[in-house]
Symmetry: C2
Subunit: 431 residues, 2 copies
């Protein structure tokens, strides 16, 4: 049965992951903390400035937004990543420091400088991330004076505070960590936190994810694993098809685990890659499920495409189609909208070869309506989670994307509700 | 002022167009008619089968959907256009004859054959278009027996019936025609009808437009004018970013005007191109304004891009962005969402060079927030029609796209309301 094609390169490895608490502070030698600076609104204090550090030097890699409009914090962090390995992340919510010109760069550097001073590090050892409203200067006078305080609060139990401090319209913090046995009685750990991908209140949001690990990996291996894991996870989710000015994934590895060093090309290197993927994937799924006003979580699998590029184009186009997302929202097993999106995706397809499944039930066979009872298909799409498999029957390439429905509440939230809230803030002079 | 860049290649020619009644039957020698076959629902009779003919042989050109999933009628009409010049269009609403396999091809051919027989033409002289639900076989037994009846009804006043018969979720027929003086006391006419581009009830809709002209033009000139006019009009509108399986624009020219023949490369050839553009543009704007549950009509102008491709990418990405469309719906002058969409459009841009205007008011200057009072910008976006100009300040290429807001009602219509209606029909065994 075509719907059974396995798309996860890690699923066949029986890696004994154990889910553990602690997020970014689960791996040994990492600490975190957060304080409330009133960045978004000085009248409403909530955690909005987070700090994550490694006690010892770390190997660090990062992936940044591909948007050509890049926030000041992204520009500064990109430079620092180029210069060498950072071991601290200072991150705020409430202001994205995007479209802020030279003043924004100065503010992002000021945040790094204050953090470096508080921790006794070099400036380039600090990465800075911001998320929130764009086009407004940072209220930097409310931020830099608080950095020494958040540094003083750093603790191995500060993970949840940090996870909460980077939230914007997220309804809950996103935290995940695993322990992986490696070597005799030893293990390594990977942990992470993330915040929502939905383009959201107050102005536009950002996908941020900070990952830590105590595995002993080389810089090359970390980079390789990072690319693999990001491509398998964060690059496969879509809520509204937008990429933000601030999207950033950072991974810091400090080698403090007792597990032995992971050698290039070894089975352990593969285990490490899959461990990193596992953490990123869980965080990515949490982001999708917590998308703005989302009621459905849908896995779109394109199988047997001619090439990887064809599989990706078809899956992404279906996952982003407004009409497909509307039909998910209405619990309508509308394979017509799906095949139509495949048709304009740019993927090389033959209409008469396409089969479409809702979970295991075939809805479209060879481009034509199947004999499956519509009432049975409807049962599937009424579920909050289901899989759509599009079998192109043209080759051996596969791709999966995770998407959501499009709800009236999403539109309401991003239009009238949003505009009303912004208008109220403008009246008060808050933005 | 950058916002004043003129993007319409025809706007500088003072072509004395006179708007006239009659749509496709305004040009001399064309007739139209429609009948009600109960294609969508035999219990609810409404006009759903239209016929448009030229009394004399015509030169015909057509542009079809780029979607790789193509309706049977599109496949058959593409063949007929290749074989020579058609002079009749038979078109139905209520069923798109898409994803219907060999049976669909047979049905599309049967419609051409019945029309050819009724009119004494060759089969290849008939083009066939369908719009409506996909994945369901045509109720052909309710259609072909009625073709002789619609042929008998053909009249120079049948335009509005034909325009109504191709409507699906359109709220009104789309009709436009002009007369253009050419030669001593002479003129030529161009007229057209169209139906909605929104992906719509019952399953997915189609942009159909049928244009007629009595101008004396050569086949080459007609083709050239067709490409130009379609690119300036129908290719610049977007409601939900989808292209349908059935999109078709047909132009038929019968040379029955008294105006002299239009020579290649002459000023008259340019006038003809602009006349064709004018008719298509007015129909395109009607389509956008009548988009599903649309409350705003917005012109997105990208000016001073490095290349035409950059201008087009930026304009189309902004016009399709859910968040930008939500902000229009909420009357929010949110230039942040606009610059952000420009950033991920793939256009080559420099953030610090970008200016963004709402009508004549600058909202973003050099990538930063302008000094314009937000209350003044809000006044512009509260209007039902306004223009967003994005000046990339990087070159001399420009592109315009016409778009709409995204309303909660659109989502409601395409999800729950749609699904409920479909479910009810399934219960009745109608689909």
């Amino acid at each position: 049965m075509n719907a059974a094609v396995d798309l996860d390169p890690c699923s066949k490895k029986s890696v004994p992951f154990k889910s553990i608490d602690g997020g970014v502070t689960a791996p040994r030698g990492f600490r975190a903390a957060a304080v409330a600076c009133g960045i978004k609104n000085p009248e409403v204090l909530r955690l909005d400035l987070a700090l994550i550090t490694s006690d010892t030097p770390a190997i660090t890699d990062a992936v940044f937004t591909t948007n050509k409009v890049r926030a000041a914090c992204v520009r500064v962090s990109q430079q620092h990543v180029k210069l060498g390995d950072a071991r601290a992340i200072i991150a705020n919510s409430g202001n994205a420091n995007a479209c802020t010109g030279p003043q924004g760069i100065q503010d992002a550097k000021a945040m790094c400088k204050a953090t470096a001073e508080a921790l006794g590090l070099k400036m380039r050892e600090v990465l800075v991330c911001s998320t929130g409203i764009i086009g407004m200067n940072m209220p930097i006078q409310r931020i830099t004076p608080r950095v020494s305080e958040v540094a003083a609060k750093l603790s191995p139990t500060g993970n949840e505070d940090a996870a909460r401090a980077i939230m914007t319209s997220d309804t809950k913090p996103k935290i995940y960590a695993i322990e992986v046995p490696l070597g005799k009685g030893a293990s390594f750990r990977v942990g992470g936190i993330a915040k929502g991908a939905g383009m959201i209140c107050p102005n536009m949001a950002t996908m941020l994810s900070f990952i830590t690990t105590d595995a002993k990996v080389s810089r090359d291996e970390l980079k390789r694993a990072m690319r693999f894991a990001v491509d398998q996870s964060f690059n496969r989710i879509t809520i509204d098809g937008d990429t933000s000015t601030n999207d950033t994934v950072i991974v810091m590895s400090n080698g403090q685990a007792e597990a032995p060093a992971i050698k290039k090309g070894s089975p352990e290197a593969e285990i490490f890659r899959c461990a990193l993927q596992k953490v990123m994937m869980e965080l990515a799924k949490m982001i999708v499920s917590d998308g703005e006003r989302v009621t459905k979580f849908v896995e779109i699998r394109v199988v047997h495409a001619r090439t990887q590029a064809d599989a990706r184009k078809a899956a992404e186009t279906v996952a982003k189609s407004l009409l497909v997302k509307c039909s998910f929202n209405g619990s309508d097993p509308n394979w017509g909208r799906i095949i139509h999106a495949v048709g304009y995706s740019g993927a090389r397809i033959k209409e008469e070869l396409i089969d479409i499944y809702f979970n295991g039930l075939i809805a479209c066979k060879g481009g034509l309506t199947s004999k499956t009872a519509v009432s049975d298909l409807e049962k599937v799409v009424k579920e909050p989670r289901f899989t759509v498999t599009i079998d192109l029957n043209s080759g051996s390439a596969n791709h999966t994307v995770y998407t959501t429905d499009l709800s009236e509440a999403y539109v309401d939230f991003n239009s009238s509700e949003y505009a009303a809230a912004l208008h109220a803030k403008r009246q008060k002079g808050l933005v």
